[in-house]
């Protein structure tokens, strides 16, 4: 088991910068998700770790040794792709065996390892099937077994769940996490699905345009986003215009709230304040509006309110029972708890 480090990695494709000064340290046995919109460089980072692409500058270290220029087949990585990566001409067992053959593992040991891996992903009865005889979820489990069979130093997962339907996706997501913890392997997981990242990661690395935006535990990324990008990308956010006053006091549409994160900003700055739906309360002291939607979500209820002053929709997350009796068209007031809000100064267009 090992660590994986990216040290100020830069990668360009033509004039397009895919990664810029990218630093990341994956600790031993840890699962880190690379999360971001498409084109943010997360797949490029993974492909550089796998050796399919090479960094223009910077370095990649595995267990402290430099592998920046090592070709893919000389590295010891286990990779699971988005889909259809099983060799269609080989059976499940032979697919899992592939990496052991290239390493010239002796036959008996090979068969034992294949049996052990198929058992791990619970596909032993399918050993003699061909990939096209399996469902999408089963294929991805075989791909996982194949990647782990060679006892790689690092496991690389490139959106392994995105081609599956919702139910299989959650089941396989939890299974990947179970297997990853069981094997204790250092893992890099690429995804554009924040829910997936929040659910299975030890830490999440949020990326945008080739840079690392924030690295932190799922709770940190969700609760204390350090940049407005992270705040908007992870989870739902209500965005309201605000003017910064003295000592962290912020005026949102004439209504004063306390936003600790605004203390760093100068008095009189125009800003956007970003507040989670669960940090807003219905019928508190605040902004007037009318209810436009009530969406029951099982554990809670999401209430949409159109504000009078701004003609903007905000969402409020209410715990079970609290939203009883609220219906579309009701006149309400919306209170804001600014303690966890993120504030982003508005950049004035140059005159």
């Amino acid at each position: 088991m090992t660590t994986l480090d990216f040290i100020s990695v830069r990668k360009t494709f033509g004039s397009n910068v895919a990664l810029e000064g990218f630093d990341l340290d994956v600790r031993e046995g840890e699962l880190i998700s690379l999360l971001g919109p498409s084109g943010c460089g997360k797949t490029t980072a993974l492909r550089i770790a796998a050796g399919f692409e090479f960094a223009d500058s910077g370095a990649v270290l595995v267990a402290g040794s430099d592998i920046t220029r090592t070709p893919a087949h000389k590295r010891n990585m286990g990779m699971v792709f988005q889909s259809y990566s099983l060799f269609p001409n080989l059976t499940v067992a032979n697919n899992v065996e592939f990496g052991l053959r290239t390493r010239d593992v002796e036959k008996g040991a090979r068969h034992r390892r294949v049996a052990e891996m198929l058992d791990l992903v619970q596909l032993t009865p399918f050993a003699d099937r061909y990939p096209h005889q399996l469902s999408g979820g089963q294929q991805q489990r075989v791909a996982l077994a194949r990647a782990l069979a060679v006892q790689p130093q690092v496991l690389l997962l490139d959106e392994p769940l995105s081609a599956l339907d919702a139910k299989v996706r959650t089941a396989l997501r939890d299974e990947i996490r179970r297997i990853q913890t069981e094997v204790g392997i250092t893992t890099l997981f690429v995804t554009h699905d924040q829910e997936e990242a929040l659910a299975i990661s030890d830490r999440i690395c949020v990326m945008s345009s080739g840079r690392l935006e924030q690295l932190g535990t799922p709770t940190e990324v969700y609760r204390q986003p350090t940049t407005a990008f992270v705040a908007r990308f992870v989870g739902l956010m209500n965005e309201l215009p605000a003017d910064v006053g003295a000592a962290g006091e912020v005026s949102v549409l004439g209504h004063r709230i306390d936003v600790p994160s605004a203390r760093a900003l100068a008095h009189g700055t125009s800003a956007h304040v970003l507040v989670r739906p669960e940090d807003m309360v219905l019928n508190g002291d605040g902004l007037a509006g009318s209810v436009t939607s009530v969406t029951f979500q099982g554990a809670g209820t999401l209430v949409g309110v159109r504000l009078d002053v701004l003609d903007r929709l905000v969402s409020i997350d209410m715990a079970r029972g609290e939203a009883d009796g609220v219906s579309v068209g009701d006149r309400v007031t919306v209170g804001i708890d600014g303690s966890k809000a993120v504030i982003e100064p508005v950049e004035r267009p140059a005159a």
């Binding site: 399919f52 590295r75 792709f81 269609p88 592939f98 990496g99 290239t102 690389l156």
Partner: protein
Amino acid sequence: MRLPKARALIEFVTVLPYMIPAIALVAGIFVIKPHARWFLNSDFSLIPFYVVLSLPFTYRSIDAGLRAIDLRTLVDASRSLGAGWLYTLRTVIVPNLRTSIISASFLTAAVVVGEFTIADTLLKETLPRFQATFTAREPQAGYLLNLLALLTTTLLFILLSVLTRKRDSSRRSFAAALLAAEKHQETAS
């Protein structure tokens, strides 16, 4: 696979032998003849011409096979599992293009067996040329021979479809190529 922009150009080049009649190709021979007499006289001189002629069929067939599988991902998977280029070619690429490669070879054989113009110009005694001279000499036996030749190619195609039946990933696209080849064969003989 690696250069998507080159595809349009390659596709255009591979249909050129279709558009340009064989006789135009042969006319070119006379331009180079003074410089390449030793080559044109050798038994191997037909090879480059036949390579050009069969290019549309081999290219189409293999291209269809490549499109049917996600070769890029398979190659990446193979490389990350520790396989070098040769091992990847042998265990991943060739087995998965088996159908395409077989049909490409059969189509090439069919084209070559039916080709008359170039062989006649280069004075090479190939089967179609023999058929022509033999028919001129012995009309009745000659027609029988032609019929036999036609039957043989038909049998080859039946054999081809049996061989490739198991895996039908790229079958439909080369069925079209097959018809085209059959037509080519008829016009030649």
